[in-house]
Amino acid sequence: MSLPSGTRNYTYAQDMAILRTKTHWALFIGLLVLLMAAPLYLSNYWLGVANLIGITLIAAIGLNILTGYCGQLSIGHAGFIAVGAYTAAVLTNRLELPFLVGLISGGLTAGAIGLIFGLPSVRVKGFYLAITTIAAQFIIIWVINHWSVTGGFVGIKVPYASIGGFVFRTETSQFYLIATIAALCTFFAKNLARTRVGRAFIAIRDNDLAAEVMGINLLYYKLLAFFIGCFMAGIAGALLAHWIGFLNAEQFSLTESILYIGMIIIGGLGTTVGPIFGVIFIRLLQQILTVQVVPFLERTFTMMPSGFATGVTPMLFGLVIILFLILEPRGLAHRWALLKSAYRLWPFSY
């Protein structure tokens, strides 16, 4: 971390600190206050968007740990989210177990399935692993569609989340639930990244043969990465289930998985803020496109071909992913870091 000139570190603890100066602390607390006060100034609709962003963020952080830090390419993340969602749904709907049981079970089940489908990662890498995760996604969705327990093609209803007697019925109440969990996940991910486990992940990503010779057990850590990544996907899925209220396998398509990969790349692979940037960027873009831009264009240019609305989203997002990879492969996190140092060095930034 680059510090303002004049700041000296006298202990290792200071050198390693995330929030080092008074300014850092002030900004951080300010951000927290802004976040916690969001229901005061956001309309119910935008709170809903914020909730979707929060849920997506939890899953994206998981994927970032798996693919960004540990380098295990996974294009089946939506499948693992589905596992968490449906586990929570079945447990709360059919078995009428409490929300928290459903939530944790959703995470653990997704993590376990992630472990199973992650086993090939010990022998293969790159494309081979990617295609395995795609196969995993298809198999998971197929099972969901063909199993009566999960509602088959029709889908399954999900009751509201509740802890103790309190029912999370409103967007506001769910906002606090989701935001807290998302903040915790960010905290955990950041801590992982700067300690032994995170370094092991990055070592495996950068040079797995050397990592092994340095004493890192590849099997254990690759599977751990899959477990943590898919556990978070499961948690996100469970929260999603209770937030939407009704699940259908179409919500967890391969396109969603691709979008998640896009999110962490656009945000910045292997960084802490990357997923935050990526998720906000993609979800806001989706919102703006479907709700504002497309109807606007359809009103003004009445000659639009009928495929415009549904076609423009994939086109635009595909293009965005391609352009980011070509022009800014290190993602928005990198841009943000450049911005911060430009601000600090002004007027000498170049």
């Binding site: 801590n191 486990v197 092991a200 070592a203 040079n207 050397a210 010779v213 057990n217 751990l224």
Partner: protein, 273 residues
Amino acid sequence: MSDKNDVKIKIENLSLSFGGVKALIDVSLEIRNNEILAIIGPNGAGKTCLLNCISGFYKPQKGEIYFEGRRITRIRPDKAARLGLARTFQNIELFTGLSTLDNIMAARHVLMKQNFLSSALYFGWAHEEEIAHRRTVEDIIDFLEIEPIRKKIVGMLPYGMRKRVELGRALAIEPKVLLLDEPMAGMNLEEKEDIARFIIDIFEGQGETYPQSPVLRDGVNCIVLVEHDMGVVMDIADRIVVLDFGRKIAEGTPAEIRTNPEVIAAYLGEEKH
């Protein structure tokens, strides 16, 4: 420093082949404590293959390797590290996305005890462990004189600096045996002298300069050096083993090897009159 000259690694009749290519043929040798052993030979003689077998990276078809009496043939590489075998590589194999500091901290992996839960929670146990290990890592950085590049991402460093970082990374494991694969390849005279000095310093131990870091205080008493630079080898090695086309063709002190006719024919070149 122990004075015993006991055998650290014993290699018996090791044979390794890749399909039809015989990389090592019936190689036997002993690596002893309190000595610097050099392995020399022409390119393709099998020197790196030998180190890779010891690391557990290649699985030999025949023969056995023993470390402190324990059989480690075909061991998993991370277990070898855990037992105390550290090495550097001919083509530098650093973690290019991490800084120098993080690369060396990563090597502390086998000595740390955090699991993913304590890592994720961080405050408390993990924090203490990070700081404790950071002290030793900083001592290593200080010893190798690479403080200016501590925080630099390794991918951007010049070749000579990267070799030093790799050396530091191997030291961080606090090994019982250090295997160095061409640590001076591609360096000029001054850089070579620096590395040679480091190797001797590592061997002898630094005692009071770094009282808190055992690896620097006591040193690493068993070093295996694969090298091409005969000047360096003759200077710092206690014993030399010569390989040629996968076979061991000679073994002895530098004086003996210098005059061995087979070695001269295979490697050193005929004398001109």
